[in-house]
Every structure is written in C-alpha cells, then in structure tokens.
C-alpha cells in the first residue's frame, strides 16, 4: 500500500511492516498503526511514522547508543499485551524531542517505545523509575551517563 510520510514523501509499504500499538500512544489515541523508517545510513536515527496521518512522525534512536547503562524491567502486563516470548524479539527505542540547534535535542528515557519484532505489536511504556525523565540531553558532556535527578 502507498502512504504519505512526513520526511520520506510517498512511500510504498508492505502491510507486514506495520507496527500496531494496541493502546495507542499517549496523546494520540486515534493512531495505532505506524511504520519505522530510517533517516540516516547508519540507522542511528529512525522515524516512527503514522500510517494514517502523514504529519504525525516521531524521531527515535536506540537509547543504548547514548546511555550505555539504560536499563528497565517490563511489567508482566506489557509482556502479555505484546505477547513477548523472548527478550531477543524486543527492540527498544527512545523518542527524541529534536531542537534547533540539534545539539540541544533531548531524549525521553521515561517512556520508551517497546516493539515486539516478531508480531509487530508495540507500546510506549511509562517507567516509574525516578532516574529516567522525559528530557535527557542527547549530547551532554557526560555523554554515556544518565544524570541522576
């Protein structure tokens, strides 16, 4: 099927590429279907693009690239909701709040996007860990450390 995207123009996608958020994304209750598109060759930055709404797109990155010690435990409820059988099937991304200039960009470590790559079910998980907040500088001087707040 053909969809319009925010950063990649018109795009031909396979239905099996579609990632479903059964509980939607907080703030966007009508949008449950997304696809992941790459922004750069290294796939360091990705776009979580809504299938239905071309203007709705989040920029994401792997939090582990920037925060080596990033770690959290998924609630049983999420494991059941996403039908997760193995940790290997999971991809975790963090949404960026991109700023101009780009080096002021922040990353939301409190609400990671968890995708079960096996069945393409996903959820934005809200963590109750005080170390992880919504605005961690992506390029802080202590680049690989989460600043405790």
């Amino acid at each position: 099927m053909k969809i319009n995207t925010k950063y990649h123009g018109e795009r031909l996608i396979n239905e099996n590429e579609i990632i479903t958020f059964p509980n939607a994304i907080p703030g966007f209750q009508d949008e449950k279907e997304f696809i992941v598109l790459s922004l750069d060759e290294d796939q360091e930055f990705l776009v979580l693009q809504s299938v239905a709404n071309s203007q709705l797109a989040f920029i994401m990155t792997s939090p582990f690239r920037f925060f080596k010690e990033y770690d959290f435990t998924l609630d049983d409820f999420v494991v059941e909701l996403l039908k997760i059988e193995s940790e290997k099937d999971i991809h975790v991304f963090s949404i960026l709040t991109v700023q101009d200039p780009f080096d002021k960009t922040t990353v939301n470590l409190q609400a990671p996007i968890v995708i079960n790559t096996k069945n393409k079910l996903a959820k934005q998980v809200i963590l109750n860990q005080p170390d992880y907040r919504t605005k961690h500088p992506l390029f802080s001087k202590k680049k690989h450390k989460v600043v405790k707040g």
Partner: protein, 75 residues
Amino acid sequence: MLVLTRRSGEVIKIGDEIEITVIAAKGDQVKIGISAPKDVEVFRKEVYDQIIAENQEATVDVSAVMGFIKGTKKN
C-alpha cells in the same frame, strides 16, 4: 465529580475490579492504595500528562536540522 469522605483504612470500590484504599492521611498528604486488574494502568496524573506533552512536543517538524540528523553536517 462524585465526592466521598473516607477514613484511614476505608475503601472505595470502582466497578467490580478496582479498589482504592486510604492507607493514611497526614496534613495535605494522603497515602492511597490501588488494587486494579493488571491491564488497568495506574499513573500519577502529572506523569501521564508530562508524557503526553513530551510526545506532542516531539512531533514538531525537524526538517530544519535534518542535515545534522543525517550526519552530513556536524555541530
């Protein structure tokens, strides 16, 4: 909004499966116990609102800095 007065240890039931227990009250702070089915997510409202606000902020158009994102420009 329904307003109920409860003492410490007393419970409010919402539907069949959700119970709210007042554990303790001291000054303007109330400690509340919530028992709900696993698929009912419970958050402090300000935390949930903050996630919504951050998500909305994160959807702004980033075309202006796309060169940096793609790594073709360096800071």
